[in-house]
């Protein structure tokens, strides 16, 4: 079993959910998160301000932006799949979430040692043994 952990845009949770359900992975866990990527400055936030005001304001907000430690809200989206299903799940998540601009998110694959079904108490070897 592997855990796929993706940090995605807030508005992408629904499309991701539906796309994964379509290819056969209906189960997932989602939670609120904030974070920063390779770029210390939130490019999107500045773009919005540039569009509205024409330039980054020289007041408090501008100062705050230039601090470089802004964390932007994202959703942490994680699901557990079998080893052989990782490639399809990863492909699906990337396809749905890709807009081509920085900030689309990151995706990580980690090994899971064991899984248990609480209702039945059974040890799960394969993710789809439900």
């Amino acid at each position: 079993m592997k855990e796929i952990m993706a940090f995605i845009r807030l508005n992408m949770v629904n499309p991701t959910k539906h796309a994964l359900a379509k290819v056969g992975y209906p189960s997932f866990t989602c939670s609120k998160a904030v974070g920063r990527g390779k770029k210390p400055l939130a490019a999107e936030a500045i773009q919005v301000i540039m569009d509205n005001a024409g330039s980054v304001p020289a007041d408090e907000i501008g100062e705050h932006l230039s601090e470089g430690i802004r964390l932007v809200p994202r959703r942490s989206f994680s699901l557990i799949v079998d080893d052989e299903q990782v490639a399809l799940a990863v492909k699906t998540i990337i396809q749905v979430n890709q807009t081509g601009t920085p900030g689309d998110g990151r995706l990580f694959v980690m090994p899971v040692a064991e899984g248990y079904n609480i209702r039945t108490g059974e040890r799960q070897i394969k993710e789809l043994d439900r």
Partner: protein, 110 residues
């Protein structure tokens, strides 16, 4: 390249300092979540009141294995309270990461 996920549970008032120190050291990418939990001391017991869901912040950092010691040192140094540290300063967990992708480019790797 071996990749690892470092999960650090730290005091909410310390996370800002840890994040800015990580940034200064060049570890930019990070995710933060609000979490609640208790540790080995079973939370805090004040008289008859038992607080066992203490607010903490979870910092998630994906890094190369080579940077592990450096990152842990930065977190340890900045998340600690007082000289010797106190109960509730938090924990750090390391998990192996097998694959990593950037969604915008679809490329594998950090």
């Amino acid at each position: 390249m071996i990749m690892i996920m470092i999960r650090a549970v730290v005091r909410p008032e310390k996370s800002g300092l840890v994040l800015s120190e990580l940034l200064d050291a060049g570890y930019v990418g990070v995710t933060k979540e609000e979490v609640y939990g208790r540790g080995r001391q079973k939370g805090i017991i004040v008289g008859e009141v038992h607080y066992d869901e203490l607010p903490k912040e979870l910092l998630i950092i994906i890094a190369e294995d080579a940077d592990k010691e450096d990152i842990i040192k930065i977190i340890m140094r900045n998340a600690k309270t007082g000289e010797n540290g106190n109960f509730g300063d938090g924990r750090i967990f390391i998990t192996p990461v097998e694959e990593a992708y950037t969604i915008s480019s679809g490329k594998a790797g950090l």
